[in-house]
Symmetry: C2
Amino acid sequence: MTTWLDLPADHPYGVDNLPYGVFSTADRTPRVGVRIGDWVLDAGAAAELGGMESGEVWLQPSLNAFLAEGRDAWTAGRAWLVEQLTNEARRDSIEPHLVPLDQVRMHLPFEVADYVDFYAGEHHATNVGKIFRPDGDALTPNWKHLPIGYHGRSGTVVVSGTDIVRPQGQRKAPSEPAPTFGPSIRLDIEAELGFVVGGATALGEPVGVAEAADHLFGVTLLNDWSARDIQAWEYVPLGPFLGKSFATSVSPWVVTLDALEAARVPLPGQDPQPLPYLRGDERSVFGLDIHYEVVINGTVVARPEYRDMYWSPTQMLAHLTVNGASLRNGDLFASGTISGPQKETRGSLLELTWNGTEPLSLDDGTTRGFLEDGDVVTLRAWAPGPGGSRVGLDEVTGTIQPARQR
Amino acid sequence: MTTWLDLPADHPYGVDNLPYGVFSTADRTPRVGVRIGDWVLDAGAAAELGGMESGEVWLQPSLNAFLAEGRDAWTAGRAWLVEQLTNEARRDSIEPHLVPLDQVRMHLPFEVADYVDFYAGEHHATNVGKIFRPDGDALTPNWKHLPIGYHGRSGTVVVSGTDIVRPQGQRKAPSEPAPTFGPSIRLDIEAELGFVVGGATALGEPVGVAEAADHLFGVTLLNDWSARDIQAWEYVPLGPFLGKSFATSVSPWVVTLDALEAARVPLPGQDPQPLPYLRGDERSVFGLDIHYEVVINGTVVARPEYRDMYWSPTQMLAHLTVNGASLRNGDLFASGTISGPQKETRGSLLELTWNGTEPLSLDDGTTRGFLEDGDVVTLRAWAPGPGGSRVGLDEVTGTIQPARQR
């Protein structure tokens, strides 16, 4: 497919991608936008004039109304966008609704309903087990039978570019007699993929693996900021809480599952075979070939590969609902940290520095065990598109601000 | 204070109580209502005619807009209601807006933003520790230093009366070689108190113990339905997930913190003294003298006492935000299971039957280890009001429906 816009055929934001976000400008209130090249299409304005049904929902300040319309509307919306951007006859109608990317402000693309963070990376879970439970088995006995997950704080999911204030909290090393309070001294990142859910379901009605993709609208890059010292002291027995809930950052552009068609790959392999409700054919159980870079202050410190993940996103969604839990439009679930077998593919400082014992060297000559105030952390990623093209997943970035003293 | 309504002075829903809910009738769309005796005041309709500022927000289908107005508006709203219901001169204006309680349908009173479940009962945590970790210390080392909590699923919080479908899921007893899938066979309740939050805060700005009550609008009774077999297999290392996320029931009437003024009591005592950010004077750190009954199929099986709880709700809120996590209007946090030192004050079947090994006898001659299909579970409660009156907290009820076969 070629567009009438002046874009190289292999541009990472060409007509094979068309990610959705929410943007505003000096004279446009926040609304849904579609990225094409270095422009943002004011999709609602263009669609209203073009008689497109989704026009109204695209004029909303979040993607939630569009998410509510479900898979058929998503497919129709994409087909309409492709037609507008590839048919030269539509050029005069569409061009006035293109805004240069450098003139827009990007917002959180959807109102987060429930946020669940999974733990679907075998290498990450193994590394964490070795670091925190050196005397036991690295993986807990349940790990290969179900995608482990927990609920996180929806209200502190923020869009890329939002500053991250260093959290304060309690910590206690095993050797210390009592806990102390202060700014986290082991502030970390987790490179993850976030899945954006639509097509709400009713309470008591599980979504099977085969239907799960109908509820997966698309993906964002996600940085699950983590205060390791706070987390280590609090997490037994009910799981992570304040070590995670201060902030979770997502990229502004939601890349649709449709745009990742060419990036689907088989999973690395599941042994033992999971229970029947987690099984599916190769169309419904899949991995994604997404290549990440983790960048701290300009230095690429890791290159995680999403294809190393153990559980399929459809298995995560089926598991999440198998007890009858309902889905809402705007539900977000994250993959867990993306780490592979090689050291350079680890998606957290905890693993990259082995809990701070093997500091990383940055290009500016400094070293890092964990994050320092002022550090700028960016995750960026791309996936293969059709015919050798690339689908860009943009980036999620954040700068560490000093803890606030009360 | 006496009302012009025909109510006994010590009625549990007299002018000392005035809980808020959301109701509808055949000709009234869902809107905020205030309970007085066996009537519901259509507060928004009455207030619009009466020139009251909160009139508009009381016409909304949830309490969230009123929650957003904050403590001063809550105080003003309460004062206005008391005036309308005690001043005989207001009778002709107000009476047309009173609807008999048996003619209304009650709805979920607020849109739940983030839901956090704490674990603030020492006797409950001790019992659970003894049951699940018999070889270790009953309380984890962190328990007396911080109120342990985790995020639950906001989207499956339902109003009293909603049927509870028995969840399906994975379980594995330690003696079994592999997990199996099926309907939960250890379905349980947890008698808790839910705290409804308003007065949203910004990211990065903790709420201290002394200010916490300004963000506590009121309380609901809360049943944290729990599938113990699913929970036991899944919860290490990231905490409860599907064992809890299928449903959480709340009572329809939110009793304000103002109405619980006479129910404030000192905590049982905290040793060791917590870190400074969790300390406060007796006005800001307190327990609540709320008396519960747990009823299964008409038999009262337990009488938990909220005054036995270890952590103050203000300490829970201060802890929740100390890392900079923001509050949204409609945030809900629950106390954790309310259990006291006596067997008859335990708030879960897990504890009452010691993990099913000591079944309960019901008045109909049957016994229960855990819940059976068709069981009706009701929590009801009251607190002392001014001058020996009682403040009713209504009830939260649910009936167990059989698991759905796909």
